[in-house]
Subunit: 214 residues, 2 copies
DNA sequence: ACCGAACCGTAACGTACGGTACGCCTCTGC
DNA sequence: GCAGAGGCGTACCGTACGTTACGGTTCGGT
């Protein structure tokens, strides 16, 4: 974990206009990647560059604000842990897998991860930390309770929730994210995502299902 | 797959001096990331910028040449498929997993993947394709024969070698690569790598071992 | 009606860097 | 010994872009 508090909700402190500007910046980031220019953002958002600098400090500030803004938009509801049987657990896992695949294959996620990876080398900002917090670690925070509940209910068997989660993460994501980030055209239709989610869930249950480990 | 022939061995056409220059560029790429400058490369390599441009065309040419040069250095020997029993298969898989984890956690691999991901957005060059070819796809090419041999020997049971490979890939890599690329400090000692390789191999065998599927 | 703040549009500045030109050195072949 | 090629070092050019400055406009408060 890089930096605590990287996922604070900034949507309170942002006015409507500022959110609109960040939306424009986000759209431009998806189109242009890291070589978006301040002038382009200003033009797209119909605001002046001076305003951009007054609001966000400098280019890096604008970028991190944009990433955090997008992150604050995808807050997802947790799952209820009541009445947990094998079918509901399976459904939850499949849901997580499917949602996750949809996220990482979306244009905005790819664009955001690209710029964050690009910036991770030169430690000017902490885009990487922000993306990690709202990506991989947020998923873990939301999935671990489900895993723990599954263990409590005697459906799952694992020592450490962290390693179990990481295995699930690997089974779901496999090579998809790195291939997408590197520009490979991975065909991810609704159907294939559903199939992959089911397959990953079944594999995970085969590895960590309580019945399979006496 | 992006572009065929992206992994041709250019080490033949490169003179000693050029290789030294590319090594310098590679070292600088690891240190500076994508914001290395042509002047810096020239200074580090003790050569003139004019030479850089004569040899490699432009900045993108230098970058792709550097990536291909590094790729050509990590050509690994394949495994012999004779006398294949469960222990030798297990050893092979563990070896692949361990090697792969060592590669993706190395400084140079992280740096190379970072610039390739960064460039993948704006389609100026095909760094992403090169990295994919010599990374994920090269691994598949080397591992698939082993998997096929395992199936032939009745040790493994799978429909498609590709999906089997991708599962193995996911079990080994999990969240390691994306976390490293995003700047997370993942502790990967020799010991943990060995443990992860063993765990991934056992999980893979649990999923695709012929004995477990009647 | 007036004032000031916020903001837009645009022009201007400074710099960093990709790319090129040129003078000088070194080394190899004749 | 010499000519020419290859290469080093450096100065130079053009441009793109981050950042700043400024005049004009809208708008809420008094």
């Amino acid at each position: 974990m890089l930096q605590a508090g990287a996922d604070i909700d900034r949507s309170e402190t942002l006015t409507e206009r500022q959110q609109a500007v960040l939306d424009a910046a986000l759209r431009l980031l998806v189109e242009e990647g890291d070589n978006l220019t301040m002038t382009a953002v200003a033009r797209r958002a119909s605001c002046s560059k001076e305003t951009l600098y007054k609001w966000f400090g400098d280019r890096d500030g604008l970028l991190t604000a944009t990433v955090q803004w997008q992150a604050s938009k995808v807050r997802v509801a947790a799952v209820d842990r009541d009445r947990l049987d094998l079918v509901s657990l399976t459904a939850s896992l499949e849901r997580f897998a499917s949602d996750w695949l949809k996220v990482i294959s979306s244009d905005t996620s790819i664009a955001l991860n690209r710029v964050a990876v690009g910036h991770a080398g030169s430690g000017k900002d902490d885009l990487g930390a922000v993306v990690l917090q709202n990506g991989r670690f947020a998923l873990a925070r939301r999935l671990k309770p489900v895993l723990e509940a599954g263990r409590q209910a005697g459906l799952l068997d694992f020592e450490d929730a962290e390693t179990a989660f990481r295995t699930f993460f690997g089974l779901v994501g496999r090579d998809v994210q790195i291939r997408l980030l590197l520009g490979d055209r991975v065909e991810l239709t609704e159907a294939t995502i559903g199939g992959d989610a089911r397959r990953a869930t079944q594999q995970f249950l085969a590895l960590f299902g309580a019945t399979n480990r006496p």
